[in-house]
């Protein structure tokens, strides 16, 4: 350590700009290379094998579109369309629940905002599995939800929600709600107060101010929230399995079955690529709308 501090002073010639840039390139290249091997390359394999011929328990390289034809017909097409429908509606529900909560936090005095935001965020950092598996108890017949709803006279008799699509939606909204609140809150907190006052002074009602000033300005936050919730929902595996029973298979389940049970890797790969295409389309649609978020969130 002592040597190096000495040379700090004695070697000013060492700071050639090229050497500095080499280190910056290295810092970027190390993680990029690692991710190339453990993340990008496997996805590439999936893409290549989605065009291969499936053989029993294995896969032969080649070029055929049969897997895609199969993945886009009958049962598999149904689950693909259902998955997109679930992700889009799950995402919209999530934003609808998150927006008022984020607006409430943003309207508080600055010192109170962080604890309120943390309260929403803490559940997200606890185990995903624990949070989802509890819904099995809450929503089950004779469970806490049935008890509470009967107590409030909102329901008379047993609650039949577990193993339905409703339960899946509850699970999806629940699991992704915290990460939807954060980006929306970040944009709402940055809307300059004078802008809102100006709208009021010009005679705008609370509703008009919201509709014409606040809502348009929260666009990048909403789009970022949609990106963080809707896109991962396209491959959701655990929530439908635990809460949806066997009704309405989604792509996540269908793909994992091709790999773990049926062992038709080629078909599974084609279905995985279809999900990736749906991901890319959703990202392309939303990224445009997130423009301006980077500056806000930084």
């Amino acid at each position: 350590m002592a040597d190096s501090t000495n040379s700090l002073v004695s070697k000013p010639a060492g700071r050639s700009p090229a050497a500095g840039r080499a280190l910056d390139h290295l810092l970027a290249a190390l993680p990029a290379l690692w991710l190339l091997v453990v993340f990008v390359a496997p996805l590439g394999f999936t893409l290549v094998f989605s065009f291969g011929h499936s053989s029993f328990g294995g896969i032969k390289l080649g070029f055929t579109l049969d897997n895609y034809a199969q993945a886009l017909s009958g049962f598999y097409l149904e689950s693909f369309l259902r998955t997109i429908q679930f992700a889009v509606s799950g995402c919209i529900l999530c934003l609808l629940v998150a927006y008022p909560a984020a607006l409430f936090i943003a309207r508080q005095p600055p010192t109170r905002r962080t604890p309120l935001l943390l309260l929403v965020l803490v559940p997200y950092f606890t185990s995903f599995l624990i949070r989802v598996m509890s819904w099995q108890i809450i929503l089950a017949r004779g469970g806490p939800a049935e008890f509470a709803l009967n107590l409030l006279h909102l329901l008379n008799g047993p609650l039949d929600v577990l193993d339905t699509q409703t339960a899946v939606f509850i699970g999806l909204v629940y699991a992704y709600l915290p990460i939807a609140v954060v980006p929306i809150y970040l944009v709402l907190a940055r809307i300059p107060q004078p802008l809102i006052e100006a709208s009021r002074d010009l005679g705008g009602s609370a509703l008009q101010t919201f509709w014409h000033v606040i809502l348009p300005l929260s666009r990048p936050g909403l789009a970022t929230a949609a990106l963080l919730t809707g896109v991962p929902m396209l491959g959701e595996l655990v929530i439908p399995v635990l809460l949806g029973g066997d009704k309405g298979v989604l792509m996540g389940m269908a793909i994992s079955q091709q790999y773990l049970a049926t062992q038709n890797y080629a078909l599974g790969s084609a279905m995985a690529v279809l999900v990736l295409i749906a991901v890319a389309v959703m990202v392309a649609l939303l990224v445009r709308l997130t423009r301006g978020f980077e500056e806000i969130s930084a």
Partner: protein
């Protein structure tokens, strides 16, 4: 400001407050349920939806369950190595996201980071399974660790990035003017300032790795199975309340780590100069 509109605004604010409280209730209900039901007597060694009585027996049951203990050991080890890799590579990435001289590289890297966060885990999991099958690499601890690192790297990079943004760029310039070569400026000047962010990131990447279920479920073997995968498997056959007892213990472990990370992160944000934008 006219009186009725003021009243309307207050009513709107009250409604928002109510909505926020309901949201928080919604978010915490399952966590509370899971904790309460880990003390549930159940019936015939199975968890029941109705609460049948208090007992501590399930915690003893979980503690004495050898496959559960083995799964916990695997989880602790795998997330330890994943966090190590994530801290090293994620810190590099987080720094490069802000300070890399080329805007194009910065944009590519930040695109990559967000892709890591949003590509559905199921797709990553099956791709890894296929990748290892084709390259004939045997599944084991190293493949499991490698599989869960991308997410941990993304989390680390975003936290470190936030730390780098609060760093005054002039610190590096001053070090350079005083004759420090680039790596020495980074190692002796920048890294010590980033230490709280890096430590917070290490804890968070540990938590995320420990919690990983979907990717791990494709990479586990009979001898290498993580705790979430074990619990998930047992959920599908009518779980014993011992599963909930184990889950509650994990919850407390996670909360402690997250709280530590949160404290460190506060140190990062409280400190010093305003963010300096990259040129």
């Amino acid at each position: 400001m006219s009186a009725p509109s003021g009243a309307a605004r207050r009513a709107g604010g009250a409604l928002l407050g109510l909505w926020y409280m309901l949201t928080v209730l919604f978010l915490f209900a399952p966590i509370v349920t899971s904790i309460v039901y880990s003390f549930n007597l159940g019936s015939l060694n199975k968890q029941t939806s109705a609460f049948t009585g208090w007992t501590l027996a399930w915690f003893a049951d979980a503690w004495n369950n050898n496959s559960l203990r083995h799964a916990v050991e695997i989880s602790l080890t795998a997330s330890f190595w994943s966090a190590i890799v994530a801290v090293i590579l994620g810190t590099c990435l987080g720094f490069a996201l802000v300070r890399h001289p080329r805007p194009l590289v910065r944009r590519l890297l930040s695109g990559l980071t967000y892709i890591l966060l949003i590509v559905p885990e199921t797709v990553i999991g099956v791709s890894l399974l296929l990748f290892y099958a084709v390259t004939r690499i045997r599944l084991g601890m190293p493949t499991l660790v490698a599989g869960i690192t991308p997410l941990a790297i993304a989390v680390t990079a975003l936290i470190v990035r936030a730390g780098v943004l609060t760093l005054d760029r002039r610190l590096e310039d001053a070090a350079a003017d005083l004759g420090a070569v680039r790596w020495k400026a980074l190692w002796f000047v920048v890294l010590p300032h980033l230490a709280p962010a890096v430590l917070a990131a290490a804890l968070m990447s540990y938590v995320f790795s420990f919690d990983n279920l979907v990717i791990s479920s494709f990479l586990t073997t009979p001898s290498i199975s993580t705790l979430p995968v074990y619990l998930y498997g047992s959920l599908q056959y009518g779980p014993s309340p011992a599963v909930y007892a184990a889950a509650t213990s994990v919850f407390i472990f996670t909360i402690v780590l997250v709280a530590l990370a949160g404290l460190l992160y506060r140190v990062v944000l409280r400190r010093g100069p305003r963010p300096v934008r990259p040129r």
